[in-house]
């Protein structure tokens, strides 16, 4: 009836672009039979063997062959998985091939000609979920693992993948059910004198759960950085040393460093990892009045990037005029940059100090900017100081949460926020003596919210939306 959906599906599971090697996955019933048509395993005796003859969980060296022309496409290593112990819970064949885009395309082409179909986005993980291999929060974490390119993000994703978030939410759910059952006792057995009349204990539980959820919700401020990166804007007058700092932080010459002011015409981004924290450094165009139309657009973008970042390093070169610096900082703050995120960086200290440093900082303090640091881009010591500053800024995101679990997923954060809102409502329903029936109705809403993360409650839109966010082949 639905033979299209019954076909094994394949995709490249490693990132696009050229690489040393790549992995192509083929999953679904009869995957090995499809693979047999294009893969020849070479035996030491010189004759061939098929994939379907391989025992599960073994690897073999093989040729991928275009059966139409009988030509070799690539030399590969094939691994066979048999149900139910595979990533998807189905029969699965993994082909480790060479990483050129052309090779990958060719292998996928012959697999499709042999009867496979192209995987839908996120289909491997969707199958794993549907076959009971992962719960929803684990499935979502897989996506974060794939996207994670720094140590801390990987750790947070892994902790979620192992169900730590689920365990934490299970505990909150357990407590909420406890509160509900207390309320039900009050309601169902009203005449019994040993029925608890007061709701003090219920209130206690609700407040405890609310604070648990608050810890989780706050952790998203860290989690957002881990999944979406922390952004640091380098700002300052032209030739204040922004590009040199960028290069020093990223460790290689990305920006062109010249002596001519206005070299960086547009924002330039570099992605680095600072002590495991994924950071995007935005080197903004120097902010100055300009008649050059293209440069003016760059200035505009620079202001936007600055105001949207988590940290702003405002660089001050020794030779700059203090009044010009002050007026530019004022401009930035007027454009919406919040003073708490700004740190004044006195750069090029190897050349000399700015004579107006005290004056600048005095004005900055008035404006609410209290951080300053003196660096020379050539010196590793002061660069390390900046890196430490970045780490401590990250650590302080969302309050100094002791939470092991870091919410990295925006949907999770939104759901937890909604659950907290219901907790607030239930607490005020009890405090205002609106009736325990109202409180219990709202507690149930909170539970339904949490169920959306743990997968105890599933709506069709949810399943589709989660899996459509995966890229093909995961």
């Amino acid at each position: 009836m639905n033979d299209i959906m019954d076909k094994p599906f394949c995709a490249c599971s490693t990132p696009g672009g050229a690489s040393g090697i790549a992995v192509i996955r083929l999953s679904g019933a009869n995957s090995s039979l499809v693979a047999d048509k294009v893969i020849k395993i070479i035996r030491s005796s010189g004759d061939y063997k098929s994939v379907s003859e391989m025992p599960g969980y073994t690897c073999a060296f093989a040729h991928v062959i275009d059966s139409a022309t009988n030509q070799d496409i690539d030399d590969v290593v094939v691994t066979r998985f048999v149900p139910p112990y595979s990533y998807t819970g189905e029969e699965l064949v993994e082909i480790s091939c060479h990483g050129g885009s052309c090779v990958k395309q060719e292998i996928l082409r012959v697999l499709i000609e042999a009867g496979a179909r192209v995987a839908e986005p996120g289909e491997f993980t969707k199958r794993a979920f549907l076959n009971g291999k992962l719960d929803l929060s684990q499935a979502e974490a897989v996506m974060n693992v794939i996207a994670a390119d720094s140590g801390r993000a990987l750790k947070a994703s892994n902790s979620q993948l192992n169900g730590n978030l689920r365990k934490e939410l299970d505990e909150s759910e357990k407590r909420l059910y406890e509160a509900l059952s207390l309320i039900e006792m009050i309601v169902e057995f009203p005449e019994h004198d040993d029925t608890p009349e007061n709701t003090a204990h219920v209130l206690e539980i609700l407040e405890e759960v609310r604070s648990r959820l608050n810890v989780l919700a706050n952790s998203y401020q860290k989690g957002r950085v881990l999944s979406e990166r922390m952004s640091i804007a380098l700002s300052g007058l032209p030739n204040s040393g922004k590009s040199s700092l960028l290069n020093a932080l990223s460790g290689y010459d990305r920006a062109i460093v010249t002596e001519v002011a206005g070299t960086t015409r547009d924002t330039l981004e570099v992605q680095i990892s600072v002590d495991g924290i994924p950071v995007t450094i935005v080197d903004t165009a120097g902010i100055r009045e300009t008649s050059d139309r293209i440069e003016a657009m760059g200035v505009e973008r620079a202001i936007k990037a600055t105001s949207e970042s988590d940290i702003v390093f405002y660089l001050v070169a020794p030779e700059s005029s203090d009044s010009e610096i002050i007026s530019q900082i004022e401009t930035l703050l007027n454009e919406g940059v919040s003073p708490e995120i700004v740190t004044i960086v006195f750069s090029k200290r190897d050349i000399g100090a700015n004579s107006g440093e005290d004056k600048i900082m005095e004005r900055c303090n008035e404006l609410g900017i209290s951080n300053s640091i003196k660096i020379s881009s050539m010196e590793t010591i002061s660069i390390n100081e900046l890196k430490e500053y970045i780490v401590s800024t990250y650590e302080n995101l969302g309050g100094n949460t002791s939470s092991e679990i870091i919410i990295m997923n925006k949907r999770h954060a939104q759901i937890i926020m909604a659950a907290i809102e219901y907790m607030n409502m239930s607490i005020s329903a009890i405090n205002d003596e609106l009736g325990v029936d109202i409180a219990s109705s709202v507690i149930r809403s909170a539970l339904e919210q949490l169920g959306e993360i743990t997968g105890k409650r599933v709506s069709s839109e949810l399943v589709d939306s989660i899996f459509s966010r995966f890229c093909i082949g995961k």
Partner: protein, 654 residues
């Protein structure tokens, strides 16, 4: 196949009559079912084993209570009879949970037990289209041919006196009578409740048609003579007279609950009670393994309570009057199956009951029932066409649960005979819907008791608005007459008009308003405010604001209550309405009845088996089956999409 022809082969068997619907059993389910069918114009026969015990209250002498009171109101809103008879026979009335929010307000009334039976019998006897007859139904009869979908089809019933009654549908409401056994310590009797004859044979005839049969047990406490009770050692519990009657019809006609009421009493068990029970536990048929049936968790026997809650040293017992013309008092919470001799000791260990004379012993009763998983939401069997069941035969406990199923089974039997579309009340429309959906979707492994916590949308399923939820349905099927329906619509309009009026009526801050608000700990607003907004404040009531609300018309209590509740809880009700909308979405995702769950890859084995057994009609119902996980539901939804997808593709290819 036990057909009419086959039955006629036996000597002296004859055809005694022909009816549209035959109702077997005249307890609370049977009376509602027969009442509904007759009112809907069908030629109806109601059989009972004992005419003098029609609508018997063999256990507690009360109707209503938490969740149960809501059910009685719903039965009445649909056009049923229980609420009206209960209003006539009330000797004490209360509104439970008054201080705990409107959603859990639950009316309850103590009944004059024998009066209830007499009044119900008389009301039904006077009903056109209905015949009531004392007879023992020993078998259902079916057609020789199976229906198109392979089911047996009901054609009649056979009595113990060799009479065949032909019919198009049967509603069996056998209560605890099918193959019943009572237990009093070591003494076992093949008997129904209250020493009445039991039903023999009917259960086997259902089993022969492959209807799955289960066995449950329940019990009832002792009755004592009030002249032998010392009430000075007890806590008195009086009724309340400022509450509405059960019946909306009575309420709209200004009928009040009785002004003279009889009190109830309560005591606690003593250490001696606990000791007597502990010493004699081995003589309980429940613990010695004689009783096979499963008992109710929510209405346990006193020995069960001591055993299960061993940390508790005492339990509360309520002493309730059985009527105006009897001295019998009922000991609520003291049901037991321990021997008679031990019952004497147990009762005498209670304060005020040391000299109590026991008039009726407590006993446990075991009975056959139908596995409700074999029913559809109309309460028709999925195995036998035209066979409906309602009440304890479906695994429930309680008069109100029985009555609620009775009216739904009766309505659907009548609709089926008339070839009309079935009536299914869903979980967002009434406790009736929750009750039936729970039974037919989740099944039950103990007598099922209705509780407010079983309802997901209880802010909306209130005792005060059952009419707005269900009376239009009752009118549609013909149980509510035009006159009553007009009164109902007038009431609804009055509520809406008044809500609208006080939303638009703004009052300026004044000394009077200040005084009023401060009297309940609220503060004067700085500028003009609508009455509706003021009512939303905690402690502020509609009544309180009367002195500042000049244009207020005289409105009845029920209208005022509805206006106040709708406004005060508006925000929360809206949240619940949103949930109901989401719930309805899954309820409208139809599952084809010919789905082969065995073929759906990705469903866990347990889920496949459960889905195959219940054959849910929509995804919502499937999601409530125990053993079907959300991941299974996700698989089902993906599956539904793919068949929809492949159907569209097929069309395109054509």
């Amino acid at each position: 196949m036990f057909t009419i022809d086959k039955a006629l082969e036996k000597e002296y068997t004859y055809v005694a009559g022909e009816f549209d619907v035959v109702v077997v059993g005249a307890g609370h389910a049977g009376c509602e079912a027969a009442h509904a069918c007759a009112k809907m114009g069908l030629k109806t026969m109601l059989f009972t084993l004992a005419l003098d015990s029609l609508a018997n209250l063999p256990c507690n002498p009360s109707i209503g209570g938490t969740a149960k009171g809501q059910l009685v109101r719903e039965i009445d809103a649909l056009g049923g009879i229980m609420g009206k008879i209960a209003d006539e026979c009330a000797i004490q009335t209360r509104m439970l949970n008054r201080s705990k929010g409107p959603a859990v307000h639950s009316p309850r009334a103590q009944m004059d037990r024998s009066k209830y039976s007499v009044r119900m019998k008389h009301a039904l006897e006077n009903l056109p289209n209905l015949t009531i007859k004392q007879a023992h139904i020993v078998s259902v009869l079916v057609d020789e041919e199976l229906t198109a979908d392979g089911k047996s089809k009901i054609t009649g019933v056979l009595t113990g006196t060799n009479a065949i009654y032909k019919c198009k549908a049967v509603v069996i409401c056998s209560g605890t009578y099918m193959e019943a056994k009572t237990f009093l310590g070591e003494v076992i009797n093949e008997s129904g409740p209250d020493g009445l004859p039991r039903s023999v044979g009917l259960s086997k005839s259902l089993r022969d048609l492959n209807v799955p049969i289960l066995r449950f047990k329940t019990g009832t406490p002792v009755r004592v003579n009030k002249n032998s009770v010392d009430f000075t050692q007890m806590t008195r519990q009086d009724g309340e007279t400022d509450i509405p009657p059960f019946s909306y019809d009575n309420e709209m006609n200004g009928v009040k609950v009785p002004s003279e009421q009889i009190p109830c009493w309560s005591v606690w068990t003593t250490p001696e009670t606990k000791q007597v029970i502990a010493d004699n536990m081995h003589r309980s048929p429940l613990y010695s393994g004689v009783i096979e049936g499963v008992g109710p968790r929510y209405c346990p026997s006193i020995e069960d309570k001591f055993k299960r809650f061993s940390d508790k040293d005492r339990h509360q017992i309520f002493i309730e009057p059985m009527g105006e013309n009897t001295n019998e008092m009922y000991l609520q919470g003291f049901s037991t199956s321990l021997p008679e001799e031990i019952q004497e000791k147990m009762v005498h260990s209670l304060p005020g009951l040391s000299n109590a004379v026991i008039q009726r012993n407590a006993y446990a009763i075991e009975y056959d029932l139908v596995d409700p998983l074999s029913l559809s939401a109309t309460l028709e069997s999925k195995i036998v066409d035209g066979l409906f069941t309602a009440g304890q035969i479906n695994g429930s406990s309680g008069y109100e649960e029985a009555g609620a199923q009775g009216i739904v089974a009766g309505i659907n039997a009548a609709l089926k005979v008339n070839g009309e579309e079935a009536l299914i009340i869903d979980r967002s429309e009434g406790y009736v819907g929750v009750l039936i959906d729970d039974l037919v979707t989740k099944g039950t492994n103990e007598p099922y008791r209705m509780m407010t916590s079983r309802a997901e949308y209880r802010l909306f399923l209130r005792q005060d608005n059952a009419d707005s939820r269900l009376t239009p349905l009752g009118f549609r099927v013909g149980l509510i007459d035009q006159e009553r329906y007009d009164r109902f619509t007038n009431k609804i309009n009055a509520i809406e008009e008044e809500k609208e009026r006080i939303r638009k009526t703004y009052i300026a801050p004044s000394d009077t308003l200040k005084e009023l608000l401060e009297s309940v700990g609220s503060v004067l607003p700085v500028s003009g405010i609508s009455i509706a907004e003021l009512i939303k404040r905690p402690q502020v009531t509609y009544k309180l604001l009367a002195p500042v609300d000049k244009d207020r018309k005289e409105l009845s209590d029920d209208v005022v209550f509805a206006v106040e509740t709708d406004l005060k809880y508006e925000g929360y009700l809206k949240l619940e309405q949103d949930k109901i909308r989401k719930f309805k979405e899954l309820e409208t995702k139809v599952l084809p009845q010919d789905i082969c769950y065995e073929d759906i890859k990705g469903l866990r084995i347990e889920a496949r088996q459960k889905l195959d057994k219940v054959k849910p009609v929509n995804v919502g119902q499937a999601s409530r089956i125990s053993g079907v996980s959300p991941a299974d539901i996700a698989v089902l939804m993906v599956y539904l999409q793919t068949i929809k997808h492949s159907k569209t593709t097929e069309k395109i290819e054509e």
